[in-house]
Amino acid sequence: MRKHIYILFILLPLLATAQKSDTVKQKADTVRSKFKPTGIRFGTDLISIGKSQYVKTFTGWEVNADADIYRYFLAFDYGSWGRNYSTDSANYSNTGRYYRVGVDVNFLTKDPEKNAFFIGMRFGHSKFSEDFVVDLNDPIWGFLHQEYTNSNVKASWLEMTTGIKVKMWKFIWMGYTARYKFALSMSKTDRLIPSDVPGFGRTDKPTTWGFNYQLFFRIPIAKEK
């Protein structure tokens, strides 16, 4: 995991250097004003809200925020995620909180409405608990009734993101973010292997996809140049 974090921080300056040749030609005061944030967007994930209403096995919410610094967005997400599954032989539930922090690079820098098509990276972290009750009859080894619990498990991962944010009306933006999640690492557990990490998803695959459909409100904090 530490290796992937290093890679993330190595890549970010590389993204920045793509604009270096343009920026060195700017005067110092112009550069300062260019990198001054012009607004902060606060939003929420509509899919999480919808799933909480209509999917019996899921409860959760997620809030998002970003601030523009020239063509970069500093992004922060915070959410809650709980699952509750029941099968013939098992009951599983988990609950936890997570956050993601990272940077997006906007490729629509000249759009007067501040619309964005972006690619970025995130570092995600989650802390969660799980309960698992198994009641099965194995055809070879017989009956098992067992309760398993994991408490305060910590997990972290990396994400590559892409998406768009489009101004819909005055201060309202909508957007989506597709996430490719990888490099999951978790703290050690005793007898129960975590099944679902809030913010990441299922753990039985090394990588997974996520998708957010977000509604934002933008608060301007500086006048546009």
């Binding site: 032989s89 017989g142 098992l144 989506y176 557990t189 129960l192 292997i193 695959k205």
Partner: protein, 418 residues
Amino acid sequence: MKRVVWFALFLVVGVSCLDQPDCFRQDLNLIGISFRKMYDGAADTVVLLKVSATSTDSVFYENVYGATFSLPLNYLNTNTTFVIEQLVREYLDGMSQTDTMFLSHSSKAQFVSEDCGERFVVSNLQLLRSTYDSIEVVSATPSNPAHINIKVYRCPRTNIMRMSFRQLYMDKNDTLSRGKLDSRPITSIINTDAVTTPWLQDTTMSAILLPLNPNTNSTTYNFKFDNGDSNSVTFNYHIGTEQIIPKCPTQNLYSQLDTTTNTFKILKISKDSLQDPPVTNVETFRCPTTNEIKVSFKQIRGSSKVTDTLHITSLTTDYLGDSSVVSADTSAITLPLNPDATTTKYTFNVTGETTSPLTLQLKYTTTTYVFHSVCGTQTIFTELAIDDANTSFYSANMIALLPDVRFPSVTNIEITRK
């Protein structure tokens, strides 16, 4: 409106990408056991009569052979004890040996999905003890499907000889002077020191492994074959001792293999000392049958010639006298020629034909030839032809395809129904 469509499109695409559960992983609790020979580490094919575990009534294997096997660990517990009953080829009576393998491991549960339920991941495999000569854990991580986790080694088996059956051919050019391996249907092979349990029964083999009695200097085997042949052979040998491999005890070494009594027509000692893996020590040969021809039945269908079926209830060969009841639908039949005459007549009682019986008389010339010195002088048949005057087979074309009799038999006569 355009923006709404734009967002709706991406929403559908995105939601469809959300991962749905699939049951591609199951319990990771299988271990692979590889049986090997201690002296070279090569795979050892074993016969497992029964493989079970102490904590279940389930039987994992019964009467199987192979060199690697997979077994499930008890993921509900931290120990699994396997009981493995194995045929031991060194024993004269085909008796088995039972070994046990005490294993410890740890197990973790995981919920996979609503559709797939739970799974168990077993790890940290350790061998507590076993009754095998030598055994090692090479991988402590069970998997699914299994890979090799445990290797079981055995000491050399020094008392097993190999005997092969060979068939000699009518081979004038002597390119097959030793013939070819001969798969013989065997009714039974019994070691006279363990008469109650046949060493082999009801099988077809071209080579067999026979253990020599380690307590005496001779071992006798009685053979019964499906064709009615019965043979007996007594092997004599010298027994020495040596520690072949440091991990194994002092073992017998068998040499100077020979026979005292033998009823096989031809039996040859090709190697007089035994080794593991066994090499052919003894070969028995059958001489070529020189007087058998094959007759096939055909019919014309359209513009092509296809196989015809004749329902023969009985068949009489003149020089043999007796009538053999066939009572079968046949499209080809092997017939013997009289070596003491120049004609042989066959009478077929058939059903479903306008005329019965049908007769077929063949004429030929006989000479003698020595194909193999061990077989002596044999009669060979040439200039084979149909004696039309004494043949009453239904209106047909009869062709003598091949005037010389060969072994193995080839179709000499073809009878085509019009």
